[in-house]
Symmetry: C2
Subunit: 279 residues, 2 copies
């Protein structure tokens, strides 16, 4: 199942809803909350930190915290909610975790069973929300440095792949690392290593570059999530750890019930990307 296929069911485009790179995080949240915006958030509210979500029953929260601690590159933890609460005060005011993500994924026993745009009928008092940093934040820094990113230029979701790089297990959670890929010329790839090294809270430096087969990717034009982009003859594919990794761990752990965001359909916070890299 491809997240951008689901997004194409949406009648309203971001432009129809007045959303753009210049929007605020709150603009995007309110558009998602109203039910009008169901699309991916790549390129929107470019100044604001976007986050991956894992929403788990309390009984799994300890295992998941340890999983994040042991795998900081795919799972950089930016916020954890109080059990049952749908707020993350450190990341955003005026936030409703039950409605502010354009598209969620509901998982039962490791199977993806639904992609709702609202969780009101599914919310439980024992749910704990984990917010993980997202590569869209460092894209802001790459673009600010003058780089071009093809999926942004083309209005696509970023390409994501399951790899053969194992994560470190914690309790029930284990599985392969998921990565995002951006094609870059060599000099830009080197600059991108320098720039993204500065922000470990949004995945830090790349985990691989060059031959995709070396990390178990068979066909670079068939991403497991998001949209494929062309890689030109003078470019290298550059791979970063991705906050969709927990979804592979959830598929492996098969918890009775949990919720995530749909890949590329992020929660947009009030934090500014330019404030990252200062810890």
């Amino acid at each position: 199942m491809n997240a951008s296929t689901a997004a194409s069911f949406s009648v309203m485009t971001p432009a129809d809803l007045g959303l753009s790179a210049a929007s605020t995080g709150r603009d995007v949240r309110l558009a998602a909350r109203s039910g009008g915006f169901l699309g991916h958030t790549s390129g929107l509210a470019a100044e604001y930190v976007q986050v991956n979500l894992a929403i788990l029953p309390t009984e799994l929260a300890g295992d998941f915290l340890r999983y994040c601690q042991r795998n900081p590159k795919p799972c950089p933890l930016l916020g954890v909610s109080e059990p049952g609460e749908w707020t993350l005060p450190d990341l955003a005011e005026d936030l409703d975790l039950r409605a502010d993500v354009p598209r969620y994924r509901v998982w039962r026993h490791g199977e993806l069973v639904a992609e709702p745009s609202d969780l009101h009928g599914l919310w439980r008092k024992d749910l704990v929300t984990f917010a993980l940093g997202c590569s869209f934040s460092f894209e802001h820094a790459l673009l600010a440095d003058g780089m071009r990113l093809r999926h942004v230029d083309e209005g696509r979701n970023v390409a994501m792949y399951r790899t053969n790089i194992p994560t470190r297990a914690a309790g029930v959670f284990h599985g392969p690392m998921v990565v995002t890929m951006r094609p870059l010329k060599a000099a830009d790839a080197i600059r991108a290593v320098q720039i993204t090294t500065r922000t470990p809270e949004v995945h830090g430096a790349p985990v691989h570059l060059g031959d995709p087969a070396l990390i178990g990717i068979r066909d670079i034009m068939k991403p497991d999530y998001g949209d494929a982009v062309e890689i030109r003859s003078d470019e290298l594919p550059v791979f970063w750890a991705c906050g969709v990794t927990p979804q592979a761990a959830i598929a492996a752990a098969k918890p009775a019930f949990c919720i995530t965001h749909a890949p590329g359909h992020m929660l947009v916070t009030d934090r500014l990307n330019q404030q990252l890299g200062r810890s």
Copy 2:
């Protein structure tokens, strides 16, 4: 002409002379000064900063200083002598620039005319010596991080190539950038970008990685200076700007007379590599 071919004429190996990675800069200088050591200095006196040399008449010194200022990646200037003096007090005590390099190159009108191991018969009162940082210094940091470098493992000189990357001209000096190449696995290439970014005074981050043809290198197994090394299927060639670049500029500028070191046959100083990266 291949510098390591010249080195093979030497009867005495570094081991014969008691030279190793554990030697001091002064040990290597004295071995060169005695005339016993004619070889390349890769892997020797690993704790100590090695430098590239350009020794030019005073009338060209201003142009060359500007050339270095405009091209800091290939030409990071660590020291400049007083005219006619064969010392560099900031870089080494007990230093004789006329004898302490294992092998020099003498250039007349842009042509390489000799590779002596001693300059006593050639020294002039108007010569100014420029000392430029060398990639052997950052190799120390890469090895300290646990990386393996094939040319070091195999006791070879590093592979160097003329590229199609232009330098910025200054006065009579212009020409292509020369680079060193080390084959690394992708994860090590990423770490190498991070580590070498910290030391701009010894060439800083790589200037290219991946396809050699993109920077004008036709045959990676035929370096223009130094020794070829194997690149395995799970490795990328990683390229750094090289302090041999001035030799390409001298070949282009064709000054009536000047002297350089022979590629890979460096002046070893008293400065410690671990003290780099603090400016």
